[in-house]
């Protein structure tokens, strides 16, 4: 348990020290609110029923969670590059402990960033959730961070180099965002895209956030679309599967010797 704590603390200290990363992660949703918000509002069919900036608020909070948790987990790639991962792997702890520590670190970072953004954004667009709604939103943020943190860990453990990092980010992050219901309701999409949205963990997180923040507009069709229990279950499954898959992938770090041997044999 002390090892998990150590891993989480390190993630937090590193994050707080990278000012630019912290500032941009908090500023990003507001940039979206201003530019995407203004643009999408002009074509948004719900106009009249709900202000578009309110509609996109749960999605923006979800977006913060996604960037926060995924990026935190993907730091495993830089850890491998810098050699830090080897120090962790030679410690007398199980691979699953390493995976858990990393995922909890990502959960903490995703949650912190979402809370900061949410605390500004929610009152800014004039939403006032009930205490129960606020509690549900907090739960949604924590659970989504954990699920995406675990997913990010699977990606990070599979990515071999920093060069692939940016490519994966673009390939995963944007489809995930657009198929999450963050910017428009999913129910009008075609069946193929609906299916993709069903395997998108962020979609369940955003749906849960809509239950929490847009309950007043549920009648007009802009609240959560899926049962809360299904959202929670899907996120929990994603987190569990992610951790189980990631742990042995981290152990494959034996690759360090292989690379060292090749480099030495040259």
């Amino acid at each position: 348990m002390r090892a998990v704590y150590g891993i989480v603390v390190r993630e937090l200290v590193r994050f707080l020290r990278q000012r630019a990363r912290a500032v941009s992660s908090v500023a990003r949703p507001f940039v979206w609110l201003i530019f995407a918000g203004a643009g999408f509002a002009t074509v948004f069919s719900g106009a009249g029923a709900i202000d578009y900036r309110r509609y996109m608020t749960p999605g923006l909070v979800g977006m913060v969670v996604m960037f926060g948790a995924l990026l935190a987990s993907l730091s495993t790639v830089t850890d491998r590059d810098a050699g830090v991962l080897r120090m962790v792997l030679v410690a007398p702890i199980r691979r699953s402990t390493v995976a858990l520590g990393k995922a909890l670190g990502a959960t903490l970072l995703g949650t912190l960033q979402a809370l900061v953004v949410g605390a500004i954004l929610v009152p800014l667009v004039g939403l006032s959730p009930t205490p129960a709604g606020a509690a549900l939103a907090l739960g949604a943020v924590v659970l989504t961070s954990l699920a995406l943190g675990a997913l990010g860990l699977v990606l990070a453990a599979s990515i071999r180099s920093l060069e692939n990092f940016a490519g994966v980010m673009n390939f995963v992050v944007f489809p995930m965002l657009f198929l999450s219901g963050a910017l428009y309701p999913l129910r009008r999409l075609g069946p193929a895209l609906q299916l993709l949205a069903r395997v998108n963990p962020l979609a369940y997180g955003v749906d849960l956030l809509k239950h929490a923040l847009l309950a007043d507009w549920a009648g007009a069709g802009f609240g959560g679309e899926l049962p809360i229990a299904l959202d929670v279950a899907a996120l929990a499954v994603c987190a569990g599967v992610g951790l189980v898959v990631a742990a042995p992938l981290l152990a494959r770090e034996g690759g360090v010797t292989r690379t060292a041997f090749r480099a030495g044999a040259k």
Partner: protein, 250 residues
């Protein structure tokens, strides 16, 4: 009698068609200073990673501090310290934060880890740099911190994989004095890999490795006497038919 610190039987590792380590039989006694001498690519690092449970053997078996490296890898990792060829420190964290991170990974409570970190910072001349990020340290200081990190949990066996690689001669000498001093004061088993003969000289025994095979084993004096030569360099040449090192330092 306590079990040997390290015991390998027919230990080997293949990477695809590359035979990194053939069949190694080896016994290292408690508190022994053991040198593993060979050129780059001889299989030294592979051996260390096998003994440190970081990779699985393709054949054979090994026990470290009495525990099997495959079946009891966690127990083995509790008992060993490993200083990797390349630094494994977090460059963005401070000297002290790196040690505290390691202390938590090795499950040392604060009241045990704290005083130990203080002591090590003193021993390794890092007290004044404790709050500086590791990236601002010189190569020699980083290496010293790597070693401090490696012995923080008071291992029984310390693996040093080419610890002086990439250091200038002065930093190399001071690190070397530190290692010898640690050995004297802690009495721990040291397993050193190197391709510098002068680093293998002070070892109790030296294993000479070439292309994944053990070609000689004994004390430096024995090896030289048995081969009828005056240096370990010549021992290597006589046993393998080719020189140990490429010309020039480095």
């Amino acid at each position: 009698m306590s079990p040997a610190a390290i015991e390998a039987r027919g230990l080997g590792k293949d990477y695809g068609s590359i035979r990194a380590l053939d069949r190694l039989d080896l016994e290292v006694q408690d508190a022994e200073f053991f040198g593993f001498l060979g050129p780059n690519g001889a299989g030294k690092t592979t051996t260390v990673h096998l003994l440190a449970t970081l990779v699985q053997p393709s054949r054979g078996a090994a026990r470290v501090a009495g525990h099997d490296v495959v079946r009891a890898s966690l127990r083995v990792r509790e008992k060993i310290g490993l200083v990797f060829q390349d630094t494994t420190l977090d460059r963005d964290l401070t000297v002290e934060e790196n040690l505290r991170f390691a202390a938590r990974l090795w499950d040392l409570p604060g009241r045990v880890g704290g005083p130990r970190i203080e002591r090590l910072l003193g021993t390794f001349g890092l007290l004044e740099r404790r709050r500086d990020p590791v990236r601002t340290l010189s190569g020699g200081m980083r290496r010293a911190l790597d070693v401090a990190r490696g012995i923080l949990h008071e291992p029984r066996v310390l693996f040093l994989d080419e610890p002086t690689a990439g250091l200038d001669p002065r930093a190399r000498r001071s690190l070397w004095e530190l290692i010898l001093e640690l050995r004297r004061s802690l009495g721990l088993t040291v397993f050193l890999t190197t391709h510098y003969v002068e680093e293998a000289e002070p070892c109790d025994r030296v294993a000479v490795l070439d292309r994944g095979r053990l070609v000689a084993l004994g004390s430096p004096a024995e090896l030289k006497r048995a081969t009828g030569v005056r240096s370990l360099e010549e021992v290597f040449l006589a046993r393998t038919g080719h020189p140990l090192a490429e010309p020039g330092p480095g």
